[in-house]
């Protein structure tokens, strides 16, 4: 136990200088130290937090470094072996997307349903971008995005089964999938899509799933709407 003769305070920490005025501390007499301990108790220590914070930051930096290195390697290989096609741009977009995806899941505070919903939304954007970069053949809107909607339906089912007590908390995600399915069908009807099979499957799966949820969920479904829409 130490004493700062400048601030006239007793310091319980095991340190050499005063945390207030930075003057070197004087060692306290054992008898006086015992008196202080009896009256105020012993020091309650704190953990070393810095190490943990450093570890998280190191992991994020390492990941970014590896991705940058990977992209540089992709650009060099692309330039040397297949200069006619810029596939390294797709690698770059995918790496950037993965990095943002990891940062988002680690740092962002939201429920799994919201994160999955937003993730599906951004993945749709990414697929459209890759399709555009590779010649705008329309495979993203025709096949990949309807597939993603079906995947979303599957995830809602998985979440509802996993968290049966709170199944209704995934209703918003299910509604989002239903809206996306309707949009896909509208795109077919306005001749932006030639293939009918996947849009029909999307609407059928999302529609049946939503109808079943309303029918079997009954009061829970209504209560969830009441909570969500209370003014």
């Amino acid at each position: 136990m130490n004493y700062c003769s400048n601030c006239k305070v007793t310091i319980l920490d095991e340190r050499n200088s005063c945390p207030l005025c930075h003057k070197m501390l004087e060692e306290m007499e054992p008898k006086r130290a015992d008196e202080i301990t009896t009256r105020y108790g012993n020091r309650a220590s704190y953990p070393n937090i810095r190490t943990r914070e450093r570890r998280i930051r190191f992991f994020m930096s390492l990941m970014l470094f590896c991705f940058l290195l990977g992209e540089v390697a992709a650009v060099i290989i692309n330039y040397i072996f297949t200069p006619a096609m810029y596939w390294s741009a797709i690698v770059g977009i995918a790496l950037l997307y993965t990095y943002l995806f990891v940062v988002y899941w680690i740092r962002h505070d939201a429920g799994a349903a919201f994160k999955v919903g937003l993730q599906i939304f951004f993945t749709m954007g990414l697929l459209l971008l890759i399709d555009y970069v590779t010649g705008n053949h329309g495979w993203a809107i025709e096949w990949a995005i309807p597939g993603l909607i079906l995947l979303g339906d599957g995830m809602v089912f998985f979440f509802m089964m996993l968290n049966r007590q709170n199944w209704y908390s995934y209703l918003a995600l299910l509604l989002l999938m239903a809206v996306c399915s309707v949009v896909i069908i509208l795109l077919y009807m306005t001749h932006h899509i030639q293939n009918l099979i996947l849009p029909v499957i999307c609407v059928a799966v999302s529609g049946v799933y939503l109808a079943a949820t309303i029918l079997f969920g009954d009061r829970q479904f209504k209560r969830e709407l009441k909570r969500r829409f209370h003014v």
Binding site: C7, K8, V9, T10, I11, L12, D13, R15, N16, S17, P19, L20, C21, H22, M24, I36, R39, Y40, G41, N42, R43, A44, S45, Y46, P47, N48, I49, R50, R52, E53, R54, R57, R107, D109, A110, G111, A112, K115, Q165, N166, S169, R219, Q220, R223, R227, R228, F229, H230, V231
Partner: protein, 430 residues
């Protein structure tokens, strides 16, 4: 509370409406209340104590969800959050989607049990009630022989009232509404601690010596501590120079005694102790600053003014047109208003009062104290708690400079108050 067959839900109280909108990693709105035991904490027993106590406190058994117009609480049916060894700086962000979706966490380190609460749930009053019951239960498990006469039940003096006391005590404004205009205040700035650290300097002092010092000036302990803090900012940060803008210390006031409320939800109001040092030849003395801040507090802590504050805050929430605005737009607007007011206060100092434990438990608990997290524009805050004749004040700060804390404690020691310090060891040592 709206009780469904399966899921209970509840609206947020008037103050709580703000917290989910503005909370972030840098402005967590999480406070810590902790108890220091006489022996090392046993994690397994603490977890068991939490498992037994939590089911009684429905205010804490909630998760936060977003509706179309408002956030709301929903009963959390998940298992009790895991008790962990302390792993973050005090008042670290509570992630809504982690910790089993609970809005509080219980950690321990050495002899200390920490309860960290997101302010959306309750204020310091509710926090201390919960922590006391957790400590009681933990001690009953840890020392079954010594506490053989104590039953495993919640103390009879605990109220489980969950009313929104703001709404209950709201009086419709008559005539023109009182407006609260606030101007810019001194902001504590400077080099920050490395790696996003939060520094803690804890000072403990005898209440009898502190009372003797207060008697000299004819003020209460609260008024004395607020005055000493404002003086420390004047001396340690402004270097005893004049300023065009005031030093503004926010002081939360527990409204329960004024309105005969026992709610476990938030029920407090903010008043500000202001001191604007003028340019003059002679420096302000501590007695002068204390007199100014005490007067400032006295003028504001009156039933009439507290009524006005409640009316002002609740009338916005009661506006039907504002209620119909979607949450996403409300969030943007609230954030903008909050950001605009970030320079209107210098700091906050709170006093959660004197914690009293029942006699059989006292020998096992050494101390109680609390800590506040940082908020926009406030890089340092003070929090006060008393237990067993000792008052503990914790300064949490993200600034590496400790001049304000130095001036604060030096003011006290000059008044004959014995001070014993400890830190969380983030400050540089020789």
């Amino acid at each position: 509370m709206n009780k469904d067959i399966n899921t209970a839900w509840d609206k947020l109280d008037n103050t709580a409406l703000l917290f989910p909108v503005i909370a972030s990693e840098n402005m967590t709105n999480v406070y810590r209340i902790f108890a220091v035991m006489t022996e090392e904490v046993d994690r397994v027993l603490l977890q068991e104590a939490l498992n037994r106590v939590l089911p009684h406190f429905s205010v804490f058994r909630m998760c936060l969800r977003a509706g179309l117009f408002w956030y709301y609480f929903e009963e959390n049916k998940k298992t009790t959050p895991q008790v962990r060894q302390e792993y973050a700086y005090p008042g670290a962000y509570i992630n809504k989607s982690q910790n089993h979706n609970y809005m509080f966490r219980v950690t321990y380190y050495g002899r200390r049990i920490n309860l960290e609460v997101f302010h959306v749930l309750t204020d310091g009053f509710g926090g201390i009630v919960f922590l006391k019951e957790l400590v009681y239960q933990y001690l009953r498990l840890k020392y079954p022989e010594a506490l053989a006469g104590e039953k495993d039940r919640i103390s009879p003096d605990v109220y489980f009232d969950k009313e929104d006391s703001y709404l209950k005590n709201y009086k419709k404004p008559v005539g023109e509404r009182k407006k609260y205009k606030s101007s810019h205040a001194v902001t504590l700035q400077g080099e920050k601690l490395m790696g996003g650290a939060v520094g803690v300097i804890q000072g403990s002092m005898r209440i009898d010596l502190l009372k003797a010092a207060c008697k000299k000036y004819g003020v209460t302990i609260n008024q004395y501590l607020v005055g000493a803090y404002a003086y420390a900012i004047y001396k340690g940060y402004l270097h005893s120079r004049g300023s065009d803008i005031p030093i503004s210390c926010c002081v939360p006031v527990n409204l329960r005694p004024y309105y005969d409320s026992h709610t476990m939800k938030n029920f407090f109001a903010m008043v500000t102790a202001e001191f604007q040092p003028e340019e003059r030849m002679e420096k302000y003395s501590f007695a002068e600053v204390l007199q100014i801040t005490t007067q400032s507090l006295k003028e504001q802590i009156t039933k009439e003014n507290l009524d006005d504050i409640i009316t002002y805050n609740v009338s916005n929430e009661q506006n039907f047109i504002l209620r119909l605005v979607p949450l996403a737009i409300k969030n943007i607007a609230i954030k903008q208003v909050y950001e605009a007011s970030r320079h209107n206060s210098t700091t906050t100092i709170t006093n959660i009062g004197n914690v009293e434990l029942r006699e059989p438990y006292r020998p096992f608990v050494e101390n109680f104290a609390c800590l506040l997290s940082m908020s926009a524009g406030q890089n340092m805050k003070g929090s006060v708690c008393s237990y067993n004749g000792i008052l503990t004040i914790n300064f949490s700060s993200i600034l590496s400079d400790t001049s304000v804390q130095k001036c604060f404690f030096q003011t006290l020691t000059e008044d004959g108050v014995e001070v014993v310090l400890q830190t969380n060891e983030v400050y540089e040592d020789a």
